[in-house]
């Protein structure tokens, strides 16, 4: 029995898996002094990261008309912050190789995350938010806490699944009842332990309860709505069997027009498969 998400995460190998290259990249970007050449040089120290980056910039996510074949050009075209966010997402997906298939397949898990990320990116764009790529990353990672829970406390997650089947309820509320905390709390704590941006931590921690976010309520609301859409469209699953409760305050905060829904879904449909390939093809 674990008394807190922090205790659950103690000793988890994945905690140390965000590479040194990523930390240096992060420092370089936040220092605001790094040149394109310096950023390029940091990325090129990691062959896997370089390959993933080139797959990202040449994927349907960007849809550039000409192939981009060098890291320096990718950095110039995409921008350092966006590039950092996107490479971070692909690196984290790579960390989690497998989970017991009885819960959910990895393919279905990331399909749900990517669908949520694509939806969040569109909604953020409609809401005129800056740097929409961070919403894509937050969407991809919003359920990452569940991967830790499937890995560390599979028996308790079995119990949670049985409970939901016999007494229908949103999975995250059953996690709170049986384990004492839910996947959102675990995910938020993991992001914090990785020393990733505070906005990402709050979005992940409060994606089911955006009204509880202190500093990034709008951001958490965007991902909350994108999560609801991805569930409604049945685009993959991280283990939730039904559409999670919808927070009307999140909707009111963004003031979106429901008329945008067909276009949001259409964009998810058109980009989903291509973007999933960018995560899974020729892993290095």
């Amino acid at each position: 029995m674990f008394s807190s998400p922090r205790e659950l995460l103690d000793g988890t190998e994945n905690l140390s898996s965000i590479s040194v290259v990523h930390e240096r990249l992060n420092e370089a970007i936040f220092s605001q002094r790094a040149t394109v050449d310096q950023i390029t040089s940091i990325i090129m120290q990691d062959a896997g990261l370089s390959a993933r980056l080139l797959r990202i910039v040449n994927s349907p996510y960007f849809g550039f008309p000409r192939k981009i074949d060098t890291i320096s050009r990718a950095v110039m075209v995409v921008g350092t912050q966006q590039l950092h966010d996107l490479t971070l997402a692909t690196s984290i997906v790579k960390i989690f190789k497998s989970i017991p298939e009885r819960f959910v397949s990895m393919e279905s898990f990331w399909k749900h995350g990517v669908a949520c990320g694509l939806g969040a990116r569109v909604i953020a764009g409609l809401n005129r938010e800056s740097n929409v790529e961070r919403f894509f990353v937050a969407g991809i990672l919003h359920d990452v806490g569940r991967l830790i829970m499937y890995d560390k406390i599979p028996e308790m997650m079995d119990e949670a699944f049985s409970h939901v089947l016999n007494h229908p309820a949103p999975m995250f509320t059953v996690e709170q009842q049986i384990i004492g905390f839910d996947h959102a709390a675990v995910g938020g704590t993991l992001i914090e332990a990785w020393r990733l941006p505070g906005s990402l931590e709050e979005i992940v921690r409060y994606h089911h309860t955006p009204q509880n976010a202190n500093h990034y309520r709008v951001e958490a609301s965007v991902v909350h709505i994108a999560d609801v859409i991805a569930h409604a469209m049945q685009c993959g699953s991280s283990g939730e069997l039904t559409v999670p409760p919808f927070d009307e305050n999140a909707w009111n905060l963004l003031g979106l027009n429901p008329g945008f829904l067909p276009q949001i879904v259409d964009l998810i449909d058109r980009q989903l498969e291509g973007v999933l390939k960018m995560f899974h093809s020729s892993e290095s």
């Binding site: 990116r121 229908p168 949103p170 409604a232 039904t242 919808f246 008329g259 276009q263 949001i264 964009l267």
Partner: protein
């Protein structure tokens, strides 16, 4: 003039306001004539809406639920009701999402035969 979804654009319509992508880069200037290639580019860049000169030229497409057996539609609605069992249905967005999810299930089953 008026704003319409990219899916409702027809060849020959004229762009009435510059069209930008998420980053603010102008993809089409005011006065551009819409072509099939132009529509493809807008979709590729994730543009959702465009302001055009003649909204009356928009074709209204039949929604799938009008084309199928009512019992088939009922089955899809039951599935969606179950999917949304933990969501309050009163919000306008939720209603639209449920309608959309129902149509999606119907469309998917029609495609599968």
């Amino acid at each position: 003039m008026g704003r319409i979804g990219v899916d409702q654009l027809n060849e020959g319509m004229i762009v009435d306001d510059p069209v930008c992508d998420f980053h603010g880069t102008v993809l089409m200037q005011k006065g551009t004539v819409i072509t099939p290639k132009g529509i493809k580019i807008l979709k590729m860049w994730g543009v959702l809406e465009v302001s055009v000169d003649d909204v009356s030229a928009v074709e209204h497409r039949a929604s799938p639920e009008r084309l199928v057996d009512p019992s088939f539609e009922e089955e899809a609605k039951r599935e969606v009701d179950s999917l949304f069992q933990h969501v309050q249905h009163s919000n306008v967005f939720v209603k639209e999402l449920m309608r959309f999810a129902t149509n999606r299930i119907i469309k998917s089953r029609l495609e599968r035969g």
